[in-house]
């Protein structure tokens, strides 16, 4: 539908909003969004898996550790992102501590860099990775590990051949729970990334709010939705294929 002069939506049919999206400018934003979301998912997996493993292994501390994973949700994500700004600013806590300790001579620019956005994304979505992995690790039968040990499997092999395959459902669920919201996030990149690190979520949000171009915003979000669906289906298929090959080796 074409856009009205005053930002409304007028009836009619057009594909212009979709063709407009295939501009190098927007494609670059799209590519960046996907790259960051994938990187965020991988980092969350690398950090979250060991944590989930430790929680699942512990007996006495398990309830407390789980509670601590959920605890950050008690504060709104917006407030926590502002706390991140407070930490990462040029005059923020991290920089003032590092200056006092003499690690750096002048403040490092942390805020408004890709690093800041990535830190914020990982920070926000890490619990969504830890919880499903924990859920699948917790159900793992310890006698399977004993069996593997008795049969002579070294720790690395025990992990790769027994623990990892059996926790795959958790890894898959966690990856989806991190990847999909990471793709759609606009708050983190807006507040921690400034104007330079635009993600697709910012683009859509802008079209709906300040640019007042709802049709284009809808087209952009619909394209992203289609891509997410495609990516998720590809991911699940790859996972199924690898699950079928794995036990045979």
């Amino acid at each position: 539908m074409p856009r009205g002069i005053y930002g409304g939506v007028e009836p009619g049919f057009t594909l212009a909003n979709y063709t407009r999206f295939f501009d190098p400018l927007y494609l670059q934003v799209l590519q960046r969004t996907f790259a960051w979301s994938i990187a965020c998912t991988v980092i969350c997996l690398l950090l979250g898996y060991p944590v989930a493993y430790v929680i699942a292994r512990s007996r006495r501390w398990r309830t407390l550790l789980l509670f601590l994973v959920v605890l950050p949700f008690w504060t709104s994500f917006l407030v926590r992102t502002f706390a991140m700004i407070f930490l990462m600013r040029d005059t923020g806590l991290i920089n003032s501590w590092m200056l006092k300790l003499g690690v750096v001579q002048e403040p490092l620019t942390i805020l408004y860099t890709p690093f800041a956005v990535m830190t914020g994304l990982v920070y926000g979505f890490l619990p969504f990775m830890i919880l499903p992995i924990y859920a699948s690790l917790e159900k793992l039968d310890p006698s399977l590990l004993e069996a593997a040990e008795v049969l002579g499997a070294r720790p690395a092999a025990r992990f790769r051949r027994v623990i990892l395959p059996l926790s795959m459902p958790g890894v898959v669920a966690g990856s989806l729970l991190v990847f999909i919201p990471a793709l759609g996030s606009f708050l983190t990149s807006d507040l921690l990334g400034g104007a330079k690190q635009v993600m697709i979520g910012n683009l859509v949000q802008n079209q709906f709010s300040s640019a007042r171009n709802w049709p284009f915003g809808s087209a952009a979000s619909f394209i992203v939705m289609a891509l997410v669906l495609a990516a998720v289906m590809w991911y699940l298929r790859v996972k199924d294929a690898s699950a079928r090959i794995e036990p045979a080796t």
């Binding site: 944590v51 504060t75 806590l93």
Partner: protein, 101 residues
């Protein structure tokens, strides 16, 4: 399986927990700071909390949040139970297999 968890795993976990809680901790600590500008520490105060109580608009907002939150919990309790029953009935649901296991 009574072997101790490897040290480096526990260390990594500690680092991750620190990372997860640092922003909130900083928030809490600096809410007692006696300075409007956040970075420098000027001593302990409760004045921000006192000011919070003095503002009727914030208290009204808190009340609205509590009402909305409890209403949402009650409504979703019913709907969630309904979904749960439906999910058990249709066992092959993809949602069930990929997210709840």
């Amino acid at each position: 399986m009574n072997k101790p968890t490897p040290r480096w795993l526990i260390g990594l976990t500690a680092v991750v927990y620190f990372f997860l809680h640092l922003p909130v901790l900083v928030l809490v600590v600096f809410s007692f700071n006696d300075s409007k500008f956040s970075v420098d520490w000027r001593g302990f105060t409760l004045q921000w909390y006192q000011r919070l109580w003095e503002r009727p608009d914030i208290l009204r907002g808190l009340k609205a949040s509590l009402i909305v939150g409890s209403a949402a919990t009650v409504i979703w309790h019913w709907r969630g139970s309904a979904f749960g029953v439906a999910g058990r009935w249709r066992d092959s649901c993809m949602f069930r297999s990929s997210l709840l296991r």
